[in-house]
């Protein structure tokens, strides 16, 4: 085998297996940075040795063993590492790393990847750190890419990651999948991270671009990985369905100029039918699992009703209203109340919806949420109360940070001004 061929094979193996190799090395070595270096050295060794020795029967196992052995050598040699890992912790790190290895199989990899996800999403880490760590260590994004996703400098993101890994070491956060009593609570944390990645990509909170495809893609990949590792979990299925159904609409959501196109105005022929089919099947599966109904599954069911309508006039709004009411009982939140009001306006009219939004606003929790004021503006406009509608849109503009949304609101205001000028 030539070096060139070996390199191509190693690249292929890297693409397929590097995540699994890393997850297992992290468990064996108990340290992210050490594991990453070990993986790097293992793949380098593969490029060097496989041309002559041939590709091993189990490339993954070979890489893990090689990586682990090189790390053990490094621990023994590296005085700097010793001084960081004080006292009796060095001895136990060496012992753990040098213990005989079992031949890894698929279920072991699955376990290690799940452990890694739960560790990165541990509640003792702040939610920003959880997301950053998951993108870096589970998704394999470069520090630069993660920094770009969150609009911070690479330096800032690097420090965030360093602090998170230090917290894991210093506080003794374990590399473990939580046991059943804690499992359900902790999986909610993991799903919140995945959903956080998706919503960051789908509607970035600051900046000029409305959608970041890469992040949405990573979130969906994470969702699929979780489904693979935890089959038949209603919340996982619900979240994956929700993300696929939202993502299916992405091609229609933004104009060439980068403007927002609302659902009601979208060209539905641009929706991704493959993702829709996949998402709809998952919604059915999520809803068919007996036991606790996941809010993600309900949100996915709402998204499903939207995508099933080939034309906006065919949207089953009464069912959507009903689903929002189910969702509000499961997970009361001002944002969901707002969405419920918009759905109600489609069934019972703008006056009723305005009452709901005003009552929400009176409770004072979301007075700075631009979409609340935008909704008020829309209902007031529908009721012909143009001056008040204009005021509401202006209030919305005051709170909106995303450029495309600001342009949309400015256009609404201009429309109102034109209408009132004519009157």
């Amino acid at each position: 085998m030539t070096a060139r061929v070996a390199e191509r094979i190693v690249e292929e193996v890297f693409r397929r297996e590097s995540g699994r190799v890393l997850a297992t090395l992290i468990r064996l070595l108990g340290d992210f940075d050490l594991a990453e270096e070990a993986r790097q050295e293992a793949f380098t060794a593969a490029v060097e040795q496989w041309p002559a020795a041939g590709v091993p029967a189990n490339p993954c196992a070979w890489l893990i063993t090689t990586g682990r052995n090189k790390a053990v050598d490094r621990i023994r040699r590296d005085a700097v590492f010793r001084s960081k890992v004080q006292g009796r912790e060095v001895a136990s790190a060496e012992a753990d790393a040098a213990a005989p290895l079992d031949e890894p199989d698929d279920s072991a990899f699955g376990d290690d990847r799940l452990r890694l996800i739960f560790t990165c999403c541990h509640p003792a880490l702040g939610s920003e750190s959880q997301i950053a760590l998951t993108l870096r260590e589970v998704c394999g994004l470069s520090t630069q890419a993660v920094a770009r996703a969150f609009l911070v400098s690479e330096e800032t993101m690097a420090q965030r990651l360093v602090r998170a890994k230090k917290k894991i070491r210093d506080a003794g956060i374990p590399y473990e999948t939580p046991e059943p009593p804690l499992f359900n609570q902790r999986i909610q944390g993991v799903l919140a991270v995945v959903y956080g990645v998706f919503t960051e990509g789908y509607a970035a909170t600051t900046g000029t671009r409305l959608v970041d495809e890469e992040l949405c893609g990573e979130a969906i990949r994470l969702g699929k990985l979780l489904d693979e590792l935890l089959p038949g979990n209603s919340a996982v299925l619900g979240l994956l369905a929700l993300m696929l159904l939202h993502d299916a609409r992405r091609p229609a959501r933004e104009s060439h100029e980068g403007d927002v196109i609302l659902l009601e105005d979208q060209d539905r022929t641009l929706w991704d039918r493959t993702k829709i089919t996949e998402g709809l099947a998952l919604v059915d599966e999520a809803l068919s699992i007996p036991g606790q109904l996941s809010p993600y599954a309900v949100q996915a069911a709402i998204a499903a009703l939207h995508v099933r309508a080939r034309k906006k006039e065919e949207t089953d709004w009464p069912q959507i209203v009903g689903l929002y009411e189910v969702l509000l009982r499961l997970q009361p939140s001002p944002v969901i109340e707002l969405n419920h009001a918009v759905a109600v306006s489609m069934v019972d009219g703008a006056a009723r919806a305005l009452d709901l939004v005003d009552s929400l606003r009176a409770r004072g929790q979301v007075s700075e949420y631009h979409l609340l004021h935008a909704a008020r503006g829309r209902f007031l406009q529908q009721l012909g109360r143009l001056r008040e509608a204009g005021e509401a849109y202006r209030a919305a503009l005051g709170f909106a940070t995303l450029e495309p949304e600001r342009r949309l609101l400015a256009a609404r205001i201009a429309t109102i001004e034109a209408l009132t000028a004519e009157a």
Binding site: G87, H122, G172, P178
Partner: protein, 117 residues
């Protein structure tokens, strides 16, 4: 690993409870402490006298300054602690969650540096 579990609560609120509520919580602490002793997790633990009995000492430029009261005024005050041995953070937080005071106040879980070899 050893962890220090610092028990914080609002002293004024705690002092304002009825005698039966106080007795009930004291009993819960007794049961809890016995439990972690039996599990081999307990290393030390004490209830502290309130911050009205506290004194703060600082030495600056060779001068010893002694002031009345805790080091800072805070909404919740340190009322007690447990020093425990736990396998990892999850075990430590599980212990902390069972401390009776966790229901009304906050338990800070601080890992302790291992002794230098």
């Amino acid at each position: 690993m050893q962890y220090l579990l610092l028990i914080y609560s609002n002293e004024a609120e705690m002092a304002g409870r009825s005698p039966s509520a106080i007795a009930s919580m004291t009993e819960e602490y007794t049961v809890f402490t016995k439990g972690i002793i039996q599990a081999g997790q307990f290393k030390a633990g004490d209830r502290l006298k309130p911050t009205s009995a506290a004194t703060t000492v600082r030495v600056r430029g060779g001068q010893v300054a002694i002031t009345d009261g805790p080091f800072a005024e805070t909404r919740e005050q340190l009322g007690g602690y447990y020093l425990v041995e736990a396998k990892n953070l999850d075990e430590a937080t599980a212990i902390a969650a069972r401390i009776p005071g966790a229901r009304v106040g906050s338990i800070e879980v601080r890992p302790i540096w291992p002794p230098v070899a």
